[in-house]
């Protein structure tokens, strides 16, 4: 192999390597040194970032003509991993347009998350678990990044699956990172187990694919029309009337359903909020859930094999994706309205947006789904990191109050039972006892517990305390809800809606085939509704957080700056003087130094005060930039006024479709989808604005007032879905286990029988014992004694003197020689 390190064929090998090395370095060597570990991790990710950018730009703007039809399919390289009889299994890396697009998005997001994490984790008090396990956090995060990059550059399903599983492990480790909290480790286990269920089925699909084709290489399967046709033909392959492609695809889709938290395996994602916020950003944006969608996007040619969604010929995987995605998108969007935890709102928005992508794939909108995947990653990473900053600010406020001896008044009783057990307001309690381990009977009538710093009802007015965060978060929110014509989210969402309206805008294709585009209709209706809800809840979240008057003392003292205990008193008095007055800027603590001369002490002070704030908010600004501009590459080429900008060229579509054998048909420009996007945003956002900017006296949420307690509770409890699962799966199984298996079968039937048999054997045994003692023991003890005595005597032969042994050998040789000599005569 030619080791040209800058060769674009070779470079993908190296992209996942630095984070993995960083993981090993940190876990093995630098675990004690926080700063060193963080620096190693950031540098490693930075290296991956640089290499990825090189590969991306080479692929996207290189002179070589890329694409299936151009003969040169992809960049890449592979080695023989193992020989399986007549065929070789090759492992390798490849870069096709989709990979390149991911290589643009993933490293940027990951790098930003890493930089942000440095500040985020540092901002905690020294004795906080965030600080105690600071280095470990970065090692896990590095492994996570390595897994994701492996998955992106892999050229076969197995390597992809390896990366997939690495991330599964890391998500478990990181969600349960604060394992002192019971809810945290439970959430980790829940995430791990849920995705595991899906992964096993996915592995079945991979195995079936390998049996059918003898390879798992993407290029050999997906860019090969003959293979796809054979797999897609139910007469040639597969069974029970389904083609092999349908069955394999269904299994793969199930894998995605688990990984990307689609209905009905979505339950783990909201709970995954228990991890530190950078982890949430990692899981929700850059890595974990994106991987699920990425996999189905990657395998899309296989999923649609044997059908054509653009002619309303849906295959089983497509139907699954369309329906599940629609349900997820709509359901999660509705749920997002009823959350009071800022991170949980974002969690549901992630689920919902992933539903958009999956549903889009279900109706064949390959490019739209990939496009939305990328834009979503940017604004979702931004939103999560913003929320982390908000939470930090709130926690500072909380600490501030604690330092003053005040207590936080919380509106809900701590320790309320949730379907997952009892949570405690004490953030890091003692280790759980065995009793706590018992799963509680489902109650699920009260909303999920919300931690104090996450509670949007306690926020408000943070605009003045953390202005950078609030602006960047506004950008993220607008992008999420699809603010027309500017934000990235608008263009990608618009493209999905345009694809789902294909049956109206391009009726010829459908009338030709003579099928009703029922899946398109379902997808459009649910996604359109979901888009309205999305705009509503995201604006609601932002308004509740940043606008209005502070609704608690915590929000009043929220800040991202590090407070020193020395000047704490001073600082505090200053704030008290100002009481309700708006504190103008973050720089207040800096005004202490009155002289103009900047001493080393000043610099150190400045650094200690502002470093965390800068480390956390710097990445926000960068991501905010991408949250807007990342969408501009996907503007419809004929879009009315913007045509002169795009030059009639839809960059992302042209780029991504190079990797496909069947080029996706571009939906013609039509007023309808654009109108739908506009409507969705303005209806949702407008409602949110008018409802939530109005000052109100009641504590109840306006939506709660409108829809009533019962429905509100249902929202707070995920429509009781988890409770339903608990009742549906856990309770019957427990009842069966306890009553039927344990009492009826085990205790009464089996145990009784066994007891009688045992009694009989005991009697026989007693008889034998007597016989034993007399006869067998006599003989049995006699023989060992004899052997023992003989052994002792023989032991003397072994003197350890080599010449004695040799003498014996010589005598033996003599005997044997004599024997042969006598035989001779």
């Amino acid at each position: 192999m030619d080791f040209n390190w800058l060769d674009v064929n070779f470079l993908p090998w190296l992209i996942p390597v630095p984070p993995l090395i960083s993981f090993a370095l940190i876990i093995l060597f630098t675990g004690r040194y926080k700063i060193t570990s963080a620096v190693i991790a950031v540098i490693a990710v930075g290296l991956s970032f640089l290499m990825s950018m090189g590969v991306f730009f080479h692929t996207a703007f290189g002179t070589e003509d890329l694409g299936v039809t151009a003969g040169k399919a992809i960049y890449g390289d592979n080695i023989t991993w193992m020989s399986l009889g007549f065929q070789e299994f090759k492992m390798g890396v490849m870069v096709d347009p989709l990979t390149a697009a991911m290589l643009f998005m993933v490293p940027i997001a990951i790098l930003m998350i890493f930089v942000y994490s440095v500040g985020y984790m540092r901002a905690y008090p020294v004795d906080d678990p965030h600080q105690i396990r600071y280095a470990r956090f970065f090692s896990y995060l590095s492994l996570f990044a390595g897994g994701m990059l492996t998955l992106v550059v892999s050229d076969n399903l197995l390597l992809l699956f390896i990366g997939w599983e690495i991330m599964g492990l890391c998500s478990y480790l990181l969600i349960g990172f604060l394992f002192e909290k019971k809810s945290s480790y439970q959430a980790g286990i829940k995430a791990f187990m849920t995705t595991r269920v899906a992964d096993v089925l996915m592995l079945v699909g991979i195995g079936y694919l390998f049996v059918e084709t003898g390879t798992l290489n993407f290029h050999e399967i997906l860019n090969n029309s003959a293979v796809l046709e054979r797999l897609g033909d139910a007469d040639q392959t597969g069974f029970i009337g389904l083609s092999a492609a349908a069955i394999i695809g269904a299994f793969l889709v199930i894998g995605t359903v688990g990984k990307s938290a689609q209905f009905p395996l979505h339950g783990w994602l909201p709970d995954a909020m228990q991890g530190p916020t950078p982890v949430s950003a990692m899981i929700h944006a850059a890595a974990m859930v994106s991987a699920g969608v990425f996999m189905v996007v990657r395998m899309y040619p296989l999923l649609e094999a044997g059908g054509n969604p653009h002619h309303a010929e849906y295959t089983l995987p497509l139907i699954m994706m369309g329906l599940l995605g629609s349900i997820t998108a709509l359901g999660a969007a509705v749920l997002g309205v009823g959350q009071n935890d800022i991170k949980r709102v974002l969690a549901y928005s992630t689920i919902s947006q992933l539903g958009f992508m999956v549903a889009a794939l279900g109706i064949g909108a390959y490019v739209a789904a990939a496009f939305h995947l990328i834009t979503h990653a940017f604004f979702k990473a931004l939103l999560f990191m913003c929320s982390g900053a908000v939470i930090h600010a709130m926690e500072h406020g909380e600490h501030h109050l604690h330092a003053e001896g005040k207590h936080v008044e919380h509106r809900e009783e701590p320790g309320e039972a949730t379907p997952y057990g009892t949570d405690h307001i004490g953030r890091f309690g003692e280790a759980p006892t065995t009793e706590e381990w018992k799963p509680l009977a489902p109650q699920g009538i009260t909303p999920d517990f919300v931690a104090v710093p996450n509670d949007m009802r306690l926020m408000g007015g943070l605009w003045h305390r953390i202005p950078i965060t609030s602006i960047t978060m506004l950008i993220g929110v607008l992008s999420l809800s699809g603010f027309p014509l500017v934000t990235a989210g608008f263009w990608s969402k618009d493209e999905i809606l345009a694809d789902s309206l294909l049956w109206i805008t391009d009726p010829d294709a459908f009338s030709d085939a003579g099928n009703v585009a029922w899946l398109h209709i379902i997808v459009f209706l649910s996604l359109f509704t979901a888009a309205i809800f999305t705009a509503f809840y995201s604006l609601r979240m932002w308004i509740l957080t940043f606008l209005g008057e502070p609704r608690s003392e915590i929000a009043r003292f929220a800040t991202l700056m590090h407070e020193h205990h020395e000047d704490h008193e001073h600082h505090h008095e200053e704030v008290v003087e100002e009481t309700h007055a708006v504190v103008p800027h973050e720089g207040e603590a800096h005004e202490d130094s009155e002289e103009d001369v900047i001493t080393m002490e000043d610099v150190r002070h400045w650094w200690s005060v502002y470093s965390n704030s800068a480390l956390m908010q710097g990445p926000l600004v960068i991501l905010a930039f991408f949250a807007i501009t990342a969408g501009w590459v996907g503007i419809h080429p004929d879009f009315w006024v913007l045509e002169w900008i795009t030059g009639g060229n839809n960059f992302i579509k042209n780029f991504l479709s190079k990797g496909l054998v069947h080029k996706p048909e571009s939906p013609p420009l039509h007023i309808l989808p654009v109108l739908a996007s506009f409507t969705a945003f303005f209806v949702g956002a407008g409602l949110a604005y008018f409802i939530y900017t109005v000052p109100r006296d009641e504590e109840k949420d306006p939506v709660e007032r409108a829809i009533g307690d019962g429905a509100w509770n249902a929202l707070g409890n995920r429509f009781f879905l988890d409770t339903l699962f608990l009742r549906l799966f856990y309770v019957p199984f427990e009842w069966f286990g306890r009553k039927v298996a344990y009492l009826a079968i085990d205790k009464e039937t089996i145990d009784e029988t066994l007891h009688s048999i045992a009694d009989a054997f005991v009697f026989v045994g007693e008889t034998f014992k007597r016989f034993n003692r007399v006869v067998i023991d006599g003989v049995g003890d006699g023989i060992p004694m004899l052997l023992w005595g003989t052994g002792r005597w023989f032991r003397n032969l072994q003197s350890g003197r080599i010449q004695q042994y040799l003498l014996f050998s010589a005598l033996m040789l003599l005997a044997i020689g004599t024997f042969f000599l006598l035989q001779l005569f």
């Binding site: 072994q798 003197s799 350890g800 003197r801 080599i802 010449q803 040799l806």
Partner: protein, 102 residues
């Protein structure tokens, strides 16, 4: 002419002397020397048989040469072992090195 059996007689005698030395000498170096005697006896045998029975072939001599090589190897390793034992246990008496037992 000297008949073959005379060479065999010398060889057998030398071999027996060697056996006696190996079995009875206390000094490990003497044991090694006795082993060399035995190897020599074997060599005399080989060459004598070659000369009397099959002189046309070269095998007998080649075989003897190999025995030389083996003898050299044996002497080198054996003496090294003895030196090592001497350094560690301050003895070259074979009987004193008797830890290989129960």
């Amino acid at each position: 002419m000297v008949p073959l059996w005379m060479y065999l007689f010398v060889s057998a005698a030398l071999f027996s002397i060697g056996i006696f030395g190996v079995l009875s000498r206390r000094n490990a170096i003497a044991v090694i020397m006795s082993i060399e005697l035995m190897l020599n006896a074997a060599n005399i045998n080989l060459v004598a048989f070659w000369r009397y029975l099959n002189p046309a072939e070269i095998n007998g001599q080649v075989f003897a040469a190999f025995v030389f090589a083996v003898a050299a190897a044996e002497a080198a390793v054996g003496l090294a072992l003895i030196l090592s034992i001497y350094r560690n246990r301050q003895t070259v008496i074979v009987e004193d090195v008797n830890i290989l037992k129960w």
